[in-house]
Each structure stands twice: as C-alpha cells, then as structure tokens.
C-alpha cells in the first residue's frame, strides 16, 4: 500500500478537510439513494389511496397479498430466467476470456474494444434491433425456420426464449470483462505443469484454470445475475403477457394500476434478494482471501 498522506483525523484541520471532501457525495447519496431505498420498505406497509397516491395509516394487507399464487410464480420465473441467462453468459465468457488473454498484445486492445462497444451502445437500440429480428418477418426468425429449428408459424417474439436471448445479448460483455481480467493474471505455465504431470487437457482446464479464475467467474456471475433479476425493459419489449418478470410487475403497479404500496412491496422483495446475493458474494470473497488466493482482491470496475 502506498503511504497514506494526511492525518487520520487526529488533528482538527485533517478532520475538517476530510469532512469537506466527504460530505458532498455522502449527503447526495444519503439523501437521494439511501433514504429512498428505506422509504420503499416503509411504503410497503402503507395503504394505497384511490388517486394513485399513498394513504394514511399502516397496514399488513399488501404484504399478505404477496402470498397469492401469481406473485410466487412471477418471482420464480424471474429467478430461473436470470439464472439460466447467467449460466449461458459464463459458459460463453470462459472460452472468450481465455482467448482474449492469449491474443497478441497488438491486436488485443482492438478486440477488447470490439467487445466493449456493444456495452456502450444505447441499450434500447440493442433491444429494438432484436425485436425486429425476432418479429414474424424478422431475419433471425426466418433463419431459424430455414434451419428447421422452428416451424413456419411458430412465434418467438413474446416468449421466454426471446427474453433469455436478449438478456444474454445485453449482459454478455459484463461477463466477458471480469473473466478476461482474471484470465489475464492467470499464470498459464501452471496449465503446462499440469499437462507435464500427466493431466489430460480437460482435467487441467477444470482443475487448474477454472479455480484459478474463480474470482473473475464470481464477479461475472454477479454482474449478470443482479441486473437480470431487475430487468424491466427486456421482458416489457420482447416478452409477452405470460412471461412477465418482477421488473414488469413493479412498473405495471406504478403506471397502469397506480398502486404504489404494492409496487413498493415487490421492490422490497427484489431489494432483499439482491442484497442476499451480494452478501453471499462478499462472504465468499472474504473467506477466499483469508484462505490464500490473491490478496489484492480487485473488484471489476
């Protein structure tokens, strides 16, 4: 670690400087991020008023309604679609990350740029591109029909398959980058050592390479899983009425049914799921750091 200049708040001036540098961001995020997140939990216990606002008093009614069968079904669909999308992204990201870390340096910067550009392209534009490809006379659907993967009149737009495809398309760069970052630091002579000691190439891959990039894999998993769980635009634009996800339902309660407490209750559930996942990730990486592994613990940023 580099030497930390400046006081640790021991003298008054150091403390004053610290506050001066900290307060603007702390206050902004405290007021406009932390407080609103807590308000969501509070409003889940308030009644709705008939004008689409928030009524007076407190009630457990909204929470009780969450047990009715269609909510668990939506939560389950959200979880499985996100989990499958994450698995597909990781499966693709491992060979791609491996390949990127082995490419000649002169080319690598440009190939990396090609991987990152879709992630910089307007998100709605990408979803729209897929919506046209998947439509009845869209090229992708026609190609699938031609390949025999789809019968002539079978739709693909507005199905869970379309959601899955666009989720993978949108979040794949998020998976490739951390896996690549980990693969780049991986010592490839270890693979040769494993081969020299008699391991098959498959065994060397699964027992040496994958554990070696486990941190990148975990980061990649979180980077895909969390936004997938909260996705709203994708199921809204390419999913149908029978393939709604949590994000859709939240927006629907805000805009169509004007029931803010119910939207809050669903948001609170989503917040808890995401928080649990992040704590699990934090616990895993702390435990891993304690038991060896690389100590630097760089987060993908």
């Amino acid at each position: 670690m580099s030497a930390r200049t400046g006081g640790n708040g021991r003298n008054g001036r150091g403390r004053f400087n610290e506050l001066l540098l900290t307060l603007p961001s702390l206050a902004w995020l405290g007021v406009f991020f932390l407080v609103p997140t807590l308000i969501v939990f509070a409003i889940a216990f308030r009644p709705a008023d008939p004008y689409g606002g928030i009524g007076d008093g407190w009630t457990f009614e909204t929470i009780r309604r969450m047990a009715s069968p269609n909510y668990p079904a939506i939560i389950w669909r959200t979880v499985w679609l996100s989990a499958v999308a994450t698995l597909i992204c990781l499966t693709l990201a491992v060979p791609v990350g491996y390949c990127l870390s082995r490419i000649d340096r002169r080319w690598r910067q440009w190939v990396l740029l090609l991987v990152v550009i879709p992630f910089w392209t307007n998100f709605l534009v990408r979803v729209f591109a897929w919506k046209s490809l998947l439509a009845t006379n869209g090229s992708f659907r026609l190609a699938l029909v031609w390949l025999g993967a789809l019968s002539g009149d079978q739709p693909i737009l507005f199905t869970p398959a379309a959601i899955l495809l666009v989720l993978v398309y949108t979040y794949l760069p998020f998976a490739i980058l951390p896996v690549y970052a980990a693969a780049e630091k991986f010592d490839f002579s270890l693979l040769e050592a494993a081969r020299d000691l008699g391991a098959s190439s498959g065994r060397a891959f699964f027992r040496v390479f994958l554990p070696g990039i486990s941190r990148g894999l975990a980061t990649a998993g979180i980077m895909v899983l969390v936004p997938s769980l909260g996705s709203y635009v994708i199921p809204d634009l390419v999913g149908g009425a029978t393939s709604e996800m949590l994000g859709n339902k939240i927006a629907q309660y805000v805009y169509t049914e004007r029931n803010l407490p119910r939207a809050s209750a669903l948001s609170a559930i989503l917040t808890l799921v995401v928080a649990a996942l992040l704590l699990l990730f934090l616990w895993w990486s702390l435990r891993r750091n304690r038991f060896g592994g690389d100590r630097k613990g760089e987060l993908f940023t």
């Binding site: 702390l26 879709p118 927006a251």
Partner: protein, 270 residues
C-alpha cells in the same frame, strides 16, 4: 502444446452475435421498404423524416442538458469522494465507501422506483430537476471509482518531492497531483456522460409527463411508433458510439503513455 481452436471460434461467434443485429438494423435504415424484410432499394427518406421530427430535437436537447450538468456535478463530487476514500481511514469512510459502491450493484429499477416514491412522498414536481438528481446518483460512483483507481497508481513520493522543493501543499496538489490524475477524472466523466445519455429506466420513473429524453422517445417509438424512423435514429446513435469509443481509446492510449513517462516503475506492483 497444441492449442484448441474452440476458444477462438467462440470469440468469433460472440463478435458475430454482438454485431450482426446492429448491422441488420443499420442496413434496414436505408431499405426502401415499409416493414423491413427484403431489400427494395436505397433510400434516405427515414433520415429526412427523422430530422424533420421536432420531438426528436427537443428530446435531444433535454438529454444533452441533463448529461452535461449531471456529468459536471459527478466529476466534482466523485473526485472529492475518491480523494476522501484514498486518504482517510475512519468509520466515516467505511460508511462512505459502502454508499459509493452500493449504486453500482443495485438494479436500476430499484433506484428509479425508490427515487419516485421519495419524490412522491415529498410532493416534489417531477421533471428535468428530478431526472438530473437521479442521473447524478447512478453515475457519481463510476467517476469516484475511476479516479480512485488512478490515485492508487499515483506515486505519492512525487508529492513529497514537490514539498521538499518548496511547493506549498496547495501548489503541489494543483501542479503535480491534479494533472497526473486528470485522465482518470476525464475517463470517469466520459463514463458518466455515456451512462446519462443512455439511461432509460431511472429516467422513465422520475421524469413525470412533461420532460422527455431521447431514450424515452426511443422507448415510446418502439411501443407505438414508426419502426423505420427508429432504424435511422438507431443507426445514427450507433455511429456516434463507435466514434466516441474510438476517440476515448485514443485518449486513454495517450494517458497511458504519459503515465509511462512520469512513472517510476513498479508502482503497480504493490
């Protein structure tokens, strides 16, 4: 050792997967056919229709006003936050760090939803102001972390040297520290600007009915507008992104070079 071709083929597949949809859409924007599909000759009429659409220009103006103001505030607040996180070790910084990291990992819909409830509870009118607040919330952390990365690579003995040579603390910050971390602040600002230009979900929740940004326009056109005009708009946005990515790559390359000239080696090794 014989290398398997499989990783390379997967990379090619992924690149094709990334770019084919965008290519089809761009070609479609020049296709003289109402509903896409087969090629019916070259036309620029969708671009002309787009440029005549007053709504697009209003939305573009709103988008840029918000992106520029939010980016400037993010650069100031994010840089200050990075300095604080880098220099001090206290309970306050522990909380500060948690707050700076949290917006990076929270799904956008939760951020939009909670801000909407906050504004509704306080009876604040939704519009440009609330969009601006939301954009600063989700992009400030990216600036803070980019600058923090730069600060961690910064050789603090340079500051000591400046002080030994008689510079005041403020002069050393101004003449040594700021110029050396400026590429980090710029890169963070560029990221914040891009995020702000692109944002749909948070904007959708806190924009109310009056103020529309370009992503909101795109969304409502996808839902119930003309897809051909949208093809043209998308192609323009794609071209801008490619240009921006290329330029930022050149700027970053120059930053790395400057780093190498000043750097005393081994800094990344700690």
């Amino acid at each position: 050792m014989k290398r398997s071709l499989f990783p390379f083929l997967t990379l090619c597949f992924c690149l094709a997967f990334f770019y084919l949809p965008l290519a089809v859409m761009t070609v479609g924007s020049f296709n003289n056919s109402r509903f896409g599909g087969a090629w019916r000759g070259f036309t620029l009429k969708y671009y002309q229709a787009l440029l005549r659409d007053r709504d697009v220009w209003i939305c573009l103006e709103n988008t840029l006003v918000i992106a520029v103001t939010a980016t400037m505030v993010c650069m100031a607040l994010g840089t200050a936050a990075a300095f604080a996180l880098h220099h001090y070790r206290s309970k306050l910084q522990f909380i500060h760090q948690a707050l700076v990291y949290a917006p990076l990992v929270i799904p956008e819909i939760l951020m939009g939803m909670s801000l909407l409830l906050f504004f509704v509870a306080l009876r604040v009118d939704l519009g440009m102001g609330t969009i601006f607040i939301g954009h600063v919330v989700f992009s400030m952390s990216y600036v803070a972390l980019t600058v923090l990365g730069r600060l961690q690579d910064f050789d603090s003995t340079l500051m000591d040297a400046a002080r030994d040579l008689g510079a005041s603390a403020w002069t050393a910050v101004r003449k040594i520290l700021l110029p050396l971390i400026a590429p980090g602040i710029l890169a963070g600002g560029l990221l914040a600007f891009t995020l702000s230009l692109d944002d749909f979900v948070v904007t959708f929740f806190v924009s109310g009915t009056g103020s529309k940004t370009l992503p909101i326009y795109i969304y409502s056109s996808i839902k119930h507008g003309s897809p051909t005009k949208l093809n043209a708009l998308s192609a323009i946005l794609l071209a801008v992104t490619f240009l921006g990515a290329f330029i930022s790559r050149l700027v970053a390359g120059r930053g790395e070079r400057a780093d190498r000239i000043v750097g005393s080696g081994g800094r990344r090794g700690f």
